[in-house]
């Protein structure tokens, strides 16, 4: 599998999970927050389909969703939605490092979009200076 397809598959898996998770989020909300959750559920379904198409076009077989997902424990539906967005953000990182500049741009836009949504849901500022990256990725050990 090419690195680009592998990175797209990782993002597709995160989008499958977000679609499943937003279903849970919406079911636990009412009123305006529910409407917002529904709109984002639709947005994630569209993104999922777009990524699946990119994988097919590149000669890959888009991964199917799992029957269920173990979702992060969250005190509120809004915090669950924020956690789902953080998962999508992290899943964009491999795609931000592929050879195709177009895919890198798509990944960077996806990371910003996911971060903005996470902040909207949680009402808290980004916790890390380098969202989506591990400390080892931020400052790689020097190679001899």
């Amino acid at each position: 599998m090419s690195p680009a397809i592998e990175a797209l598959q990782a993002l597709l898996a995160a989008e499958h999970r977000a679609v499943y998770g937003y279903g849970m989020v919406g079911a636990r909300l009412t009123g305006t927050p529910r409407t917002q959750a529904t709109a984002l559920w639709d947005a994630h379904r569209s993104r999922r389909d777009q990524i699946a198409t990119l994988i097919s076009d590149a000669g890959g077989e888009p991964a199917s969703p799992e029957a269920t997902y173990a979702l992060p424990a969250a005190r509120t539906p809004a915090l669950l939605a924020a956690a789902l967005e953080e998962g999508v953000l992290a899943a964009c990182v491999p795609l931000a490092g592929v050879r195709s500049a177009n895919l890198r741009r798509m990944a960077a836009q996806g990371m910003q979009e996911a971060m903005i949504r996470a902040v909207r849901w949680s009402r808290t500022a980004p916790a890390d200076a380098f969202p989506g990256l591990t400390p080892a990725e931020v400052a790689p050990a020097p190679t001899p």
Partner: protein, 150 residues
């Protein structure tokens, strides 16, 4: 794994005298990003000084920008001779508005502009560095949003 130091493009290895090392386009992008982080830090420090009531709100993003700057500088290894630009460009300071709300608006605008620049940057730097730029852009976009709730 992100890439380490920037690779400088060797222009040739033939029998003639070695060509000079030439900086790749990513060096200019890195230097501009470094200048942008310095400008952002100056703005946040100015807002904190002019509006003590906002210092707690700006402490988090200010610290993040200092981390961004330190990390970007780690990726820039000054060369010798004409290999790399002589100096980091310096951007003019962004004026600090007198009022609290306009100051927050100025911070938001600067964060949004920086985040937009990072999206362009990721298409023009090597993949390893692109991941770092993408992450920094996400942080900046998040702070632009979070400043709305201050």
């Amino acid at each position: 794994m992100l890439g380490g130091a920037l690779a400088l493009g060797l222009t040739g290895c033939d029998e003639k005298a070695p060509e000079e090392l030439r900086a790749g386009p990513e060096v200019a992008i890195l230097l501009t990003a470094i200048a942008g982080e310095e400008q952002m830090i100056t703005l946040y420090e100015g807002v904190a000084a002019a509006h003590p009531g906002l210092s707690a709100s700006v402490a988090g993003p200010l610290e993040h920008h200092r981390e961004h700057l330190a990390q970007l500088r780690r990726h820039y290894l000054p060369g010798t001779g004409r290999a790399t630009p002589a100096q980091t460009p310096v951007l003019p300071p962004i004026p600090v508005p007198a009022g609290r709300a306009p100051a927050l608006t100025a911070l938001r605008a600067a964060e949004k502009m920086a985040a937009a620049a990072r999206i362009k940057d990721v298409t023009q730097v090597p993949p390893g560095l692109a991941q770092l730029f993408a992450s920094i852009g996400a942080c900046e976009a998040g702070h632009a949003q979070a400043l709305m709730y201050r």
